[in-house]
């Protein structure tokens, strides 16, 4: 809108010097991180550049169907990411479906409500609003859900004896798993709780900083940031709850038995 400094690709190349420095440090100290760092940086560059092109095209087209298609792509990728981040996963389609379904439902409900009731762009699905909003909501829900599921699945694997001890005493599956369900929910919600508590003083949120850098009035940027934070917290909480209960439902059966056989073996990462 007002004045902002436009960036050239040369500026970005210059900024990558610091990441290169990290790479040199990793080689020098033998951290073994240089390869992963390089791959991650290149992925970030390529993915964001492509997304920039996709968004530009979508904004130009202004088609609800193409917007919906991109939303679907985002959801599928988020589901895959949640699946990939778990140490041991539920076997079969359930393993993908529980995380993806929980996120689609929670992020979808929150995003639709935000667009239809709060921000109210015209039309309500306008890609300029819908896609960035959904992206931020989904990204955080994805983090929360994958943390919660990872924690729950680890507990089912490691604490199977403690869970079964309660089942043997006549506890229901929900009673028997309660301590571990609670720990999983706590783990999933911790990042967003911490983010809300520390925001503004320690860290300026990325979205708000970006808006201010791009020349928006800080007061307006703050209002959007608060809106986004609240939406993120709401959808993360809902997503984490749905995913954890869904997962526990699948890892037990109607006779209230623990079914670790439905969980794939844990693999050593790296």
């Amino acid at each position: 809108m007002t004045s902002y400094v436009s960036l050239g690709y040369g500026d970005l190349a210059l900024a990558s010097v610091f990441v290169l420095l990290n790479g040199v440090l990793s080689i020098w100290l033998g951290l073994g991180l240089e390869r992963r760092l390089a791959v991650a940086a290149v992925r970030m560059f390529v993915q964001l550049t492509l997304v920039g092109l996709v968004l530009k095209t979508l904004f130009g087209m202004g088609s609800p169907w193409m917007t919906a298609l991109w939303v679907l792509v985002m959801l599928l990728f988020a589901g895959r990411e949640v699946w990939a981040r778990q140490d041991s996963r539920i076997l079969g389609w359930w393993g993908y479906g529980i995380g993806a379904g929980a996120m689609a439902l929670s992020a979808g409900v929150v995003a639709v409500m935000a667009l239809g009731v709060l921000v109210r762009p015209d039309p309500w699905w306008a890609p300029q609003y819908a896609l960035p909003l959904l992206g931020m909501i989904l990204g955080n829900a994805m983090n929360g859900v994958s943390l919660a599921l990872d924690s729950l699945h680890r507990a089912v694997r490691r604490e199977a004896r403690a869970i079964e001890a309660q089942l043997m005493l006549g506890a229901t599956r929900w009673q028997a798993a309660r301590p571990f369900l609670r720990a999983a929910l706590r783990t999933g919600l911790m990042p967003i709780v911490n983010a809300m508590a520390a925001t503004g003083i320690v860290s300026l949120p990325g979205m708000m900083s970006g808006q201010i850098l791009a020349g928006i009035d800080p007061g307006e940027a703050v209002k959007y940031q608060i809106l986004v934070m609240l939406l993120i917290a709401g959808s993360t909480g809902m997503g984490v709850l749905l995913a954890a209960f869904g997962s526990l439902y699948r890892l037990t059966d109607s006779r209230h038995r623990l079914r670790p056989d439905r969980l794939g073996s844990s693999r050593d990462r790296r």
Binding site: R161, A165, L167, M168, G170, T172, R255, H256
Partner: protein
């Protein structure tokens, strides 16, 4: 009373057996014969086929938790979900009498699980199972980790419960235990139960 008909689970079975009220049935057999699998299947902790019933109901007629409240399993290694011993009991204050019967001090209810020896854990797990007042008790190697004196104490306590009507199905390696418990003994090998208890000892 416990009645099992045509029970199968993986390589186990079909198994038929019956334990009358106040009776004890002992199962022996080589390692890996499926003894623990059998007990878990009866308690409905793993998917299995067959009909099982106790005096008050058939297994299929009640929920899993309800069934396991009537037919309690004490596994060879007990699980603990809290730090304090007392957390695992409904009424920690009412255990004083029973603690003495199994040779443990009354303070044990105030201990942490982490400081328990294997034998202490096992006796407390047995008390925890009895506290729910089951009709049938499934015991997996109930005295393997106890010294001989404590073993006799626990057996005496169990016989007193049997006199009140408790049915016990136990898996044991000790040849003398079925005799002391006044139990019939069956032999489990290759997933099949046979009546001749002493036949294959040592094989």
């Amino acid at each position: 009373m416990l009645r099992v008909r045509g029970l199968t689970r993986l390589a186990l079975g079909p198994v038929d057996l019956e334990v009358a009220d106040g009776d004890c049935l002992a199962i022996t057999g080589p390692s890996g014969a499926g003894k623990s699998v059998l007990l878990r299947a009866i308690a409905d902790l793993d998917p299995n086929e067959g009909t099982v019933s106790c005096t008050s109901c058939a297994r299929d007629a009640v929920t899993g938790p309800d069934w396991r409240g009537r037919v309690a399993l004490l596994p060879a290694e007990s699980g603990w979900w809290g730090d304090a011993v007392a957390m695992h009991f409904r009424n920690p204050g009412g255990q004083r009498n029973l603690l003495g019967q199994v040779g443990m001090p009354a303070e044990a209810m105030g201990w942490d699980v982490a400081r328990l020896s294997t034998g202490e854990r096992h006796r407390l797990a047995l008390m925890r199972a009895l506290e729910r007042g089951p009709e049938v008790l499934l015991l997996d190697e109930p005295t393997t980790m106890l010294d001989s004196g404590t073993t006799l104490l626990v057996e005496a306590m169990l016989r007193a419960r049997m006199a009140q009507g408790l049915s016990i199905l136990m898996v044991t390696h000790e040849a003398e235990q079925p005799v002391r418990m006044g139990a019939r003994a069956l032999w489990l090998e290759g997933g099949r139960l046979s009546a001749s208890a002493q036949q294959g000892v040592g094989s």
